[in-house]
Structures are given as C-alpha cells and as structure tokens.
Symmetry: C2
Subunit: 488 residues, 2 copies
C-alpha cells in the first residue's frame, strides 16, 4: 500500500479513473487499465489506472470526478492506493474457458462484475471466447439471460406488450414501418433500437434524422401513454447494461456466439415486459446465417422464450441484398416515408414490412392465421400507418419531412448492357461508412438497380452521397477497387 | 468524419490518447479504448479514445502530448477525426480462434500490431484464448518466437553468452546465487529479470533492495564489460515488447498457454544472443506443472532451441514448498546473502542453486559431465561467488548490506505438538502481498519451519512482516482464515 497526494481535475470519465505517474506505476507493477483500490477513512472504491508524466509528480494521483465525488476528496489530501484483488468471477471465466458448465449463481457473479465495471474488456473477451469455443446449454443461456435482466433497469409497463427484433445483417429499415402498422391496429410497442456499430445506420440513427430518439424512461412512458408506440434509442436506458458491454467486446472480432445472441435479445425483451415477440431472421449467402443455422436459431429462440413465458414467432426469409434503395440514416428513413406515403414500394422493403406486421397480428391474435398480411396491407393502404408514424414522430418532438440531400454526389453508371448478378452487402456497408455514415446523416448510397434487373450502358446503377469531396473521392476509389455490384 | 477543436493538456500517457466529449462519442458510436484516426494536412495517426464531460465542449478534443508532438498541434486548431479501420490482424486472430494454422507472414502481422499498439488488450485476449484453446504446432511457435524477437531491441553481445530461466511458480531466489557462482568461473551472463506481477517479488524487486536494476542497454553493456554478469530489470529494455504486452493480458486470467510460454522464453534468450540456456522446471502438486507436463515441456524446449541453434538443458525438480525461508523482496535477498556468505543454507535454496549452477557448467563445458556440482560448490565455499556478487551489486551502484526490517511483525505459533504436512504456495504468496509485497520491500514472510519438520506447541512457525499495522492485521486475519500451513 502506498500513500499519494490527490490532485483534482474536472474530468468525468464515465467510470472511476485515476492517473498515476509513470515511475510510480512501474515500481508498483501497475499498467494502463489495471484496477486499484483507493482508500481513505475506511471508505474504499475501485478505479481504473491511467498513466502519465509531466502532468503530475511521482507521489501524486489525479482522480476523475467519479472518484472525488464518491470519496469526498479535496486537493492535496493523502489517500492510500493498492492493487485491486482479483474479482472472483475471473475464476469462473477460467472455468468456462475449460468448457465446464456454470451454475445460476456463477452467471450472476460474472454478470454483476461486468455491470459494476469490475471486469476489464480483456477479461470480458476471455468470457466471450469461452462462450464462442465451448457453447452453452439451454439452462446456462436461461441463467445468463435472467442475470442480464436482473442487473438492468426495466420499463415496467402493464398490458399486452409487443416487440420485434431482427437478427440483422441485411440493410433495410423495416422497423418503423412494422411498428407504425401494428400500433395503428392498437398494439402496444415500446420499441428500443441501437445505433450503428459496424453498419452504416441503426434504426436510432435513421429516426434521429427526423425526431429525437434519446429519452429517459419516464419520458418514454409519457410518449407511450400518448401513442402506444415509440421508436427510441435504447443505448442510454440501461435496460441490459451487461449485454451492452459484452456486445462491444464481441464486435471487436465480429464474434456473435449463438448463446450470447439468444440471451441478449430475450433479455432486452424481458426488460420491456414484452409478452409477444417476433424475431426476423434473414438468411442467405450475404446474410449473417445460412438456412440451417436460421432453423436452428428458431428452435432455440422458441425454447428460451418458453422458459420465460414469452409467446414468440420467428420469420425466416432468404434475403441477399438490401431490402430498400437507400443506405445511410437519412436515405433509409426516406425509403420508410415513401412506403408509408404509398409513393414507392422501395424494392422489397414494403413486401417484407407487410409480412412481418402480418406475422405479429397473427401472433397476438389481432388476425386469424393466414389473415395477418391482409390486415397489414389495409392499414398501410388506408393511410392509418402513416398517421400513426406521424403521431410517434410528433411525440418524439420531430416532424415527418423531406430531408436535405448531402452536399456532394457521384453517379456510378453501367459500362455496358448487362444484368445485375450479385450485390455484396458487407462491401456496400463499408462503402457507405467511407462516404461518412453514420456521423454524416445524409451521406450514404442509393441503389437504382437491384439483383436480376437489366442495366443499359450509361444508366445510373448507384449514387454515392457525401458531405465532403474528400470522402466522396475516397468512396468512389473504394467502389472501383472492390466492385461490390457484380454483373452477369 | 468530423472536425474538432484541439485542446492541449500536458498529459503524456505513454501512448497516443484523445479525450472526447461524452455526447460526441455517443453520437459517433465511439467508446473508451476504441481507436480513432486523427488527420490534419495529410498527416494521420491512430489514438486511443478516452471519454469525459465537464472538461471540454462537444466540439473539442483533448490530445495527449504523444498526439500533439507527432502532429505538431496547437491550441484551437481544427482536426479531422474518424473511427479507425480494423487492423488486418483481427481477421488472423479470428482465423486462429477457429483453430486454423497461421503462416510466418500472419504471425508477423499480429505481432507487429501488438507492438505498435494497434490491438487493444481485449483483442490480444482473443489471441491468447485462441492459443490456449487450439494450441500451436512447433512450426507456428517458431514463427511467433522469431516475430517477437524481430520486433524488439537486441543486446548485440559477442561471445559465449549464457542464460538461465525458471518456468516459475515456486518462490526462492536461486538466480542471484547461480549467476554469481557461474560468472565467478568466467561465464558471460547478461541476466534480465522481471518484477513481481502476481507473486510477492520478482528477481528485479529483490535486487532493488540493495542496488539499482533499471538501466539502459548501453549502461548494461558497460556493466558487463566490468563484471561479465548483471542482474537487471528487463521490463524497460524493450527486448520483446510484444511478449511483455501478451503476458500482461495472460496474467489477467492466470493463463499460460504452453505455446506462448515457449515462444516467450526463447525469444528473450535470442534477444540477448544467448548460446547456452538452462531452463529450471519445478514440478509438483503446488507448482505450475506436474511431472508429465514438465517432461513434455522439456521435449518442446529442446526442439525449439534446436531450431534457433541454442544449446539447451532443462533441470526438472520436484519442489512443493518455498526453497528458502524468506518471501518478499528484502527477505529473499537476505536468504541469498546468507547462502553466499556461508552463514545459512536457507532450507533448500543452497542445494537447488548449486544443482542449477552445476548443470550450467556441464552444458557450457566448464565442467565434465557429473563434475558440475563439485565445481559449483568449490566456488561457493571459497567465497569467489560472494566476491562476484559484490562486484555485480557495486557495478549496479549498490552495496551488499543488512536490510532494515519492516516496522511491524507478528509471530505465528504452533498451537500443539505436531509435524508440518503441507505448505500451500499460492496462499503464502497472497498472504505476502496482503502484508504489502512487492511495494513495501521489507514486508513479507519468514518461514521458521518447513514440510516434514516437527513443531512444538508455542514454537514460532512463521513471522509476518509489514510496514503498517493495518496491513499486518489484515495479513493475520487472512492467515487464520485460509491456513496455508497444514499440520499432520
């Protein structure tokens, strides 16, 4: 244990952080991202180590506001510091890494440590590796799901709550359309969505081009009382904070262990008290899973949902190219508005949205088996869904409007008469991100042609939008190098 | 891409760091420890993200001196920032995580990214998991070893260079004794050691109680010209920086994949140009490996060493309790001095040190087969080894002296007449750390009795030393709870 003199800095880092002098850190075998205990007058908290020089003396410690507030520290006070003991959950992660089964209590221990920041990202990576290499039994998945829900906040709504979720991988903003259709028939849908992590846009990024998406739980409840549906960002609600942290570590390697995927989705549905859940599972060569994996996922979703008393349906669909024309926050929401206004079906976006809405009607008993699609189409054609969408956007302090196009654009044209053979989703996503998505909301791509369509020499196939000429240039360069659209 | 206004702060973090405003980070889907590119006038570097509020505005970015120096940034300048692209080595880590073999080029790619900080600790954890779960072929181990050496500095010494290494796990400071004996016979031994990470003391911590251990490479060469041996800290020499980073991540979970262990040790020996290497492999119930694993390790060490043209010997020994009496930096160096001064053999410390020195004499041809032990004992008994040790310590700006005892101590006494059955090494290590090791150099434990010895009621078995009463109390509490010494 060593004594150090406190230096305050108005740095709130979102977690307790201390900055130590490099020499002191070396002597104490402490490294960046290590954990230490800070102790004073019997009070003790854990903090993450950052290391600096020039900035402080060897016997000084700079603390973030999270530390100074919790410990009531003032400038020049002396505090004790010592390396933090190993969290017990590390042994459990080690156990899982040897492919042994964990108990309910053991999952609770790990998930609790994830939430209270007692585990570093590297330690969580070991847990993800273990789940990836060893898998989990259905019992273990249920334990983990429960632990994730129990360590998060809940929406605590009453009534017949409905939710949908897509396993993801294929661009196309069906969610705002499905939610508008279903809610216009009276279903209660508190939809929380994510922002883009590796894709050009998440539903939250897209909605944000026309309204607010960042609300507190009481604000969301107020919106729901008005409109019985919302389309908000789930990221700041802390519904499943353990899952949020684990997903971030998974994304580093684009790992998505099946067990974690199941627990993650069901936990988020339990946090909003959903009783009816529809899972959208696109499969195919350019999607996340193939047909066999999709069927296997369906079986496991059903098993896990049963355990938690959720009525579930899965909609498996072969999809191998973007559902709509636009890719990017504003361009995707434009597609949504066009479909709702009946101006354009936007390739397969309308068809798929209707299918999903129809399935939800049948699952909840709003429509008899085989009649869901018909009801969905009626609500879309009659303008009721559009009306509902306007209501939701208004409640979220926005307006359904034309979105300003990006400053620069480049049309990519066909160099010969041909037919489109394949559109590579992953490469299109990268292209849209190079063009500026998701930071530049109006940046992105517009597909004029889809798989199977004829193109004539000189016809525009794709338009790239960007807010700066540099980004546009970079995107065009990438397009030419990678050729994400294949011709026959 | 977004533009942010630079705020300077005299923070040198040892790596390029930027602090972003929480709101900006959320909108850009950036998180603590993510990597971003900073760009200005065609110059571009990667930096690690930290997040804060209060401290800066949404459109501002605080940069560490590593960033401001490299990019020549001034206060209020506008710079571009964008999420960093995935390093290519992530795909290779993913490949290894699927248990596929990697090529020489692929190992070079991964190790290069580890060294230039392009991989986060979580990403390195995935690599360690992959090696842990899938193992590596001897070919792969050789590729990795070579990549680790090639990305580090080298000592570039000429001559018949000798080195030793312990696989570790059992306390007992044989190294200073072995090096003193062997060097007094003329062997050239540039010994670099580590500080304690999870143990109460490393050789560097122990030596530091009587001399300096932190030198630059030119300083070490100067010492070697004088004394033909040194006992320095290897941590700041950058001999195998990739390995240093990987080991830190392994330690989080106390993982020590065999392939990594082999590559790590041989790489460090190659970096000092060692031609003769002795590996000390203690095995047994309380050691790191059992007999079978020890034999297996020996076989692989021999194979890998042959590949790099190193003459190697392994010394397997069943060891199930600390070799000496002291545990902790100062207490262990006291044992070393007692053995060298012929005052006390300190349990099995003298015997094991002589064995190891003898093996080295036989390996290097200084003694005929079967005659090494005799030569070692002569050099110890004649005082030549002590003389050599004094020379080394003097060259490292220190003095062989009595070390001041810690302020507080507590004798643990036997409660009945009995015999010691077992001493649990891991628990003793934890006990010593609770008492203040390695930060408090004089803290630690002194074992008055060893396995198999008779104890009488009231006799002192163990003394705990600490620099504060709180730590002493905590240590005694831990001793009583865990009972690391078992009686018959």
């Amino acid at each position: 244990m060593a004594k150090l003199k406190v230096k305050l800095l108005k740095l709130s880092a979102g977690r307790p952080v201390v900055i130590l002098h490099k020499k002191f850190a070396e002597k104490s075998s402490l490294h960046v991202n290590d954990r230490v205990y800070i102790e004073r007058r019997g009070k003790r908290i854990a903090a993450v180590v950052d290391i600096a020089t020039g900035f402080l003396k060897q016997n000084e410690i700079v603390v973030s506001t999270e530390v100074s507030t919790a410990m009531k520290l003032k400038e020049d006070i002396l505090i004790d510091i010592e390396p933090a003991t190993r969290p017990k959950s590390l042994e459990l992660i080690q156990k899982k890494l040897s492919c042994k089964k964990l108990s309910r209590k053991e999952f609770e221990e790990i998930i609790r440590d994830v939430v209270k920041n007692a585990l570093t990202e590297a330690e969580i990576a070991y847990f993800v590796s273990a789940v990836y290499k060893c898998g989990m039994s259905m019992k273990e998945i249920a334990y983990m799901t429960k632990a994730i829900v129990d360590t998060g906040k809940r929406l605590n709504l009453k009534g017949k709550i409905v939710d949908k979720h897509s396993v993801g991988g294929v661009p196309g903003r069906t969610t705002p359309i499905v939610i508008s259709i279903c809610s216009s028939a009276g279903l209660l849908i508190p939809k929380t969505s994510s922002r883009a992590i590796t894709s050009p846009a998440g539903t939250a990024d897209a909605m944000e081009t026309i309204c607010k998406v960042d609300f507190t739980i009481p604000e969301i409840k107020k919106i729901l009382r008005k409109t019985r549906a919302c389309l908000v960002w789930g990221g700041s609600l802390n519904l499943a904070p353990a899952d949020d942290r684990i997903i971030r570590v998974e994304k580093l390697l684009n790992l998505d262990p099946e067990a974690q995927l199941l627990a993650s989705i069901i936990a988020k549905k339990l946090a909003v008290n959903a009783k009816y859940v529809l899972i959208d599972i696109p499969y195919g060569k350019n999607a996340k899973v193939n047909k066999k994996e999709a069927k296997n996922l369906e079986r496991k979703f059903k098993k896990l949902a049963k355990h938690f008393n959720i009525k579930i349906a899965c909609s498996l669909k072969k999809v191998e190219e973007p559902l709509g024309n636009g890719i990017g926050p504003a361009l995707e929401i434009s597609d949504v508005i066009k479909v709702l206004k009946r101006e354009d079906s936007c390739h397969k976006l309308e068809e798929r949205s209707l299918e999903l809405a129809g399935k939800l009607f049948e699952l909840t008993g709003k429509a008899k088996k085989g009649q869901g699609l018909k009801l969905a189409r009626q609500l879309l054609d009659s303008g009721k869904a559009l009306e509902k969408f306007r209501e939701i956007v208004k409640a979220q302090k926005g307006k359904v409007k034309e979105i300003k196009k990006a400053k620069y654009k480049k049309d990519i044209k066909a160099t010969k008469n041909s037919k489109i053979k394949e559109i590579k989703i992953q490469e299109l996503n990268t292209l849209a991100r190079i063009a500026g998505c998701p930071l530049d909301k109006a940046a992105g791509l517009y597909l004029h042609k889809h798989v199977g369509e004829e193109v004539k020499k000189g016809q525009t196939i794709l338009t790239i939008y960007a807010e700066s000429q540099i980004e546009l240039k970079e995107a065009v360069k990438y397009y030419k190098r990678v050729k994400p659209i294949k011709f026959k």
